[in-house]
C-alpha cells in the first residue's frame, strides 16, 4: 500500500527534527531511511506511524489523508528499536496482542488466534518459545518476536526503527537477509530506518539519505554511489574519504588547503583508497577522481 508524506515539519523546542520533508513510497517497496543519528529519520518514521503528530504537512496512506489519525487507526506495523515487547506477557501473548484488542466484530476466535500466532512464530523461527517471557530471550529472538507481533495484524505497511541496531554483527547480518527474503515473500510495503549504509544498501530497493531534518538524496544504492547529490551524501555513503585538489602537469595531485589540513611538505606520501565508485560530482569542477574498482 502506498504511503506519502508532503512538506512535513516537526520541531522539538528549538531543534528542527524535520524541515519540509516529502517522501513517496509505492506499494510493496522496501525503502531505507539512511542518515547519521539525530538527523530526523526516526522522527519521520514516527510521524508516518502516527506516534508523533507533525507541526505542518500531510501524511497519506493509499491517497487518503491520515495526518490526524492516531497510530491505532492507521493499520501500520511498527517495530521499535529496543523492541518494546510487553514484558508482563509471554511470547505467545505478545504476538496475540494485536488480535485480542480488535473490536468484537472483527476479532478472531480463540482457535483462530492460536493458529495465527503459531503460524507467525513458525515464520520467525521461534516455534518452541511461545511460553517464554521477553527477558528469557536473546536479542535476536526478541527482535523476531517484535516482528511477528507487528505482522500479526496483517499491516499493509511495516515500519522498522533501527531494527538490527541493538544486535551483534553476526546476528545482524543473518536477520538482514532473512528480512529481505521475508519481504519478497509477503510484499508488505516496508520502511527501514538505519544509520548503517551497508545495511541500507544490502536490503533496500531505494534509499533516502536524511540529514539535519532534510532529505539529501532519494535513489537506488547504485545512484547514491555513482552520483551523490551533495558532498554530505558522498561522504556519508561512500567508504572513502574525499580529498579535494588539482592535478598538475606531471600527474601529481596537489591537495587543496582544506584537504591538506596540517600535513606539511614531504618527499613521498601514501594515500590509501578503498573501493571508490565515486566519479564526477566533484565540487568546483577541477578534475575528477578515477574509479579503482
Amino acid at each position: 500500500m502506498s504511503l506519502e508524506a508532503v512538506s512535513v515539519r516537526k520541531t522539538f523546542g528549538k531543534h528542527k527534527a524535520l524541515d519540509d520533508v516529502s517522501v513517496k513510497i509505492a506499494g510493496g517497496e522496501l525503502v531505507a531511511l539512511l542518515g547519521p543519528s539525530g538527523g530526523g529519520k526516526t522522527t519521520l518514521l514516527r510521524v508516518l506511524a502516527g506516534l508523533e503528530s507533525p507541526d505542518a504537512g500531510v501524511v497519506r496512506i493509499r491517497g487518503e489523508e491520515v495526518t490526524r489519525n492516531g497510530p491505532h487507526a492507521r493499520g501500520v506495523g511498527f517495530v521499535f528499536q529496543h523492541y518494546a515487547l510487553f514484558r508482563e506477557m509471554t511470547v505467545f501473548e505478545n504476538v496475540a496482542f494485536g488480535l485480542r484488542v480488535k473490536p468484537r466484530g472483527t476479532r478472531p476466535d480463540e482457535a483462530a488466534i492460536q493458529k495465527r500466532v503459531h503460524e507467525l512464530l513458525g515464520l520467525v523461527q521461534l516455534e518452541g518459545l511461545s511460553g517464554r517471557h521477553p527477558d528469557q530471550l536473546s536479542g535476536g529472538q526478541r527482535q523476531r518476536v517484535a516482528l511477528a507481533r507487528a505482522l500479526a495484524v496483517e499491516p499493509k505497511i511495516l515500519l522498522l526503527d533501527e531494527p538490527f541496531g541493538a544486535l551483534d554483527a553476526k546476528v545482524r547480518k543473518e536477520l538482514r537477509s532473512w528480512l529481505r527474503r521475508l519481504h519478497d515473500e509477503l510484499h508488505v510495503t516496508t520502511i527501514l530506518v538505519t544509520h548503517d549504509q551497508e545495511e541500507a544498501f544490502e536490503i533496500a530497493d531505494r534509499v533516502l539519505v536524511i540529514h539535519e531534518g532534510r532529505i539529501h538524496q532519494d535513489g537506488t544504492p547504485e545512484v547514491l554511489l555513482t552520483t551523490p547529490a551533495s558532498p554530505f551524501v558522498a561522504d556519508f555513503v561512500s567508504e572513502s574519504a574525499i580529498v579535494h585538489g588539482t592535478l598538475d602537469d606531471e600527474g601529481a595531485i596537489v591537495l587543496d588547503e582544506a584537504s591538506r589540513g596540517s600535513l606539511g611538505a614531504s618527499k613521498g606520501a601514501r594515500v590509501a583508497l578503498k573501493k571508490v565508485h565515486v566519479a564526477g560530482a566533484v565540487p568546483r569542477g577541477a578534475t575528477h577522481t578515477s574509479s579503482l574498482d
Binding site: F97, F236, V243
Partner: protein, 304 residues
C-alpha cells in the same frame, strides 16, 4: 551505583558509624517503639474486660464504622484520580503541567488544620457557599460529607506521588507499541500500563488508606465531634482522653496502632516490589542502551 551503596550499608559499622547507629536506634526506640508499647500496655492496663468494653462501646463502633466508610470512599476515589493525574503528568504535554504537579503536592505542605478551616470557610454556615447550602438543606460542615471532603483533600498526593516516578521509569515504549497494534486508550491502560504499575498503585493506596484512617487535624476542624455521627476513631480517642477515660482511650488507640502496624508491614513488602519493578525497567533500558552503544558506526575510509 545502587549496588555499591548497598555494599557500603552492609559493612560493619565502626567508630563514628557505630555512634550514629546507636543514637538513631535509641531515638527510634524512644520516639516510636516506646509510645507504641505504652499504647498496648495502657490499653490492657485495667484488664481485658475494660478493653473489650471500650472497643465494643456503641460510640467506638460508630466511630470505627465512620472511619471505615471514609476509607472506603477516599481510597477508590484517589485510585481513579491518581491514575488520571499520573497519566496527565507523565504522558501529556500541556500548559500548566508544572502547576498541576504543585497543586497536587499542596496538601503535603499545608497544615491539616488549615485544610480543615478552608472547608469551613467554604461550606460553613457563614462561609461563601453557606447560605446557598442552607437554602437547599445540604449539610457539609459538621456532617459526614465534610469529614469525607477534608480527608480527600489531605490524602490527595499519596497515589499520584507513587505512580508518577514509576510511570516515568517504565517509559512509553510498550504503550506506543500497543497503540501501533490497534489498541485504544482504555485497552492500553488495562492491558499494558496498569499491570506494569500495579505494585506502585497498591502501595499508594495503602499509604492513602492509612492516612485516611488516621487523619486528625483537618477532620477535627470540620467534624464538630458529634458523637455517634461525625466522630472518627482518632477523634474518638481524643474525646475519651479528654474525659479522663484513660484506659478506654488507649484501648481504642490500639485499634489505630494495629492498623498502623499492618500498614508498616505491607509498606516494607510493597516498597521492595516497587523498587524491584523500577530497577527492572531501568536495567532493561541500560542494557539496550549499552548494546546500542557497542554497535558499528558506518565504516569510513581514512586518509593515512
Amino acid at each position: 551505583m545502587a549496588e555499591s551503596r548497598d555494599q557500603h550499608a552492609r559493612e560493619r559499622p565502626h567508630g563514628l558509624g557505630l555512634a550514629v547507629a546507636i543514637t538513631s536506634i535509641a531515638l527510634l526506640c524512644l520516639l516510636v517503639l516506646a509510645p507504641l508499647a505504652i499504647v498496648l500496655v495502657e490499653g490492657f492496663a485495667d484488664g481485658v474486660g475494660t478493653f473489650v468494653e471500650a472497643v465494643t462501646d456503641e460510640a467506638t463502633v460508630s466511630a470505627l464504622v465512620l472511619t471505615l466508610t471514609v476509607v472506603a470512599i477516599v481510597v477508590p476515589f484517589h485510585t481513579v484520580f491518581g491514575i488520571a493525574a499520573a497519566w496527565l503528568l507523565t504522558r501529556q504535554d500541556f500548559r500548566g503541567k508544572a502547576l498541576l504537579g504543585t497543586l497536587i503536592d499542596l496538601p503535603f505542605t499545608v497544615s491539616p488544620v488549615v485544610s480543615g478551616l478552608l472547608f469551613v470557610l467554604l461550606f460553613g454556615a457563614r462561609g461563601w457557599l453557606g447560605p446557598w447550602l442552607r437554602d437547599h438543606e445540604i449539610r457539609i460542615v459538621y456532617a459526614v460529607p465534610g469529614v469525607v471532603l477534608a480527608t480527600l483533600f489531605v490524602t490527595l498526593p499519596f497515589v499520584v506521588r507513587e505512580l508518577v516516578p514509576t510511570m516515568e521509569a517504565i517509559g512509553r515504549d510498550e504503550e506506543e507499541a500497543a497503540a501501533s497494534l490497534g489498541a485504544g486508550g482504555w485497552q492500553i491502560l488495562w492491558r499494558i500500563t496498569l499491570p506494569r504499575v500495579r505494585w506502585a498503585l497498591f502501595y499508594g493506596c495503602v499509604l492513602c488508606g492509612a492516612r485516611a484512617a488516621g487523619e486528625f487535624g483537618a477532620v477535627s476542624v470540620v467534624s464538630g465531634h458529634v458523637r455517634g455521627e461525625t466522630n472518627t476513631l482518632p477523634l474518638h480517642v481524643e474525646i475519651l482522653w479528654g474525659e479522663y477515660h484513660t484506659a478506654a482511650a488507649f484501648s481504642v488507640a490500639t485499634m489505630l496502632a494495629a492498623s498502623g502496624l499492618v500498614t508498616l508491614v505491607l509498606r516494607s513488602f510493597l516498597e521492595r516490589r516497587v523498587r524491584a519493578s523500577k530497577r527492572a525497567a531501568s536495567a532493561a533500558a541500560d542494557a539496550s542502551a549499552a548494546v546500542a552503544l557497542g554497535e558499528d558506526t558506518p565504516m569510513k575510509g581514512a586518509l593515512s
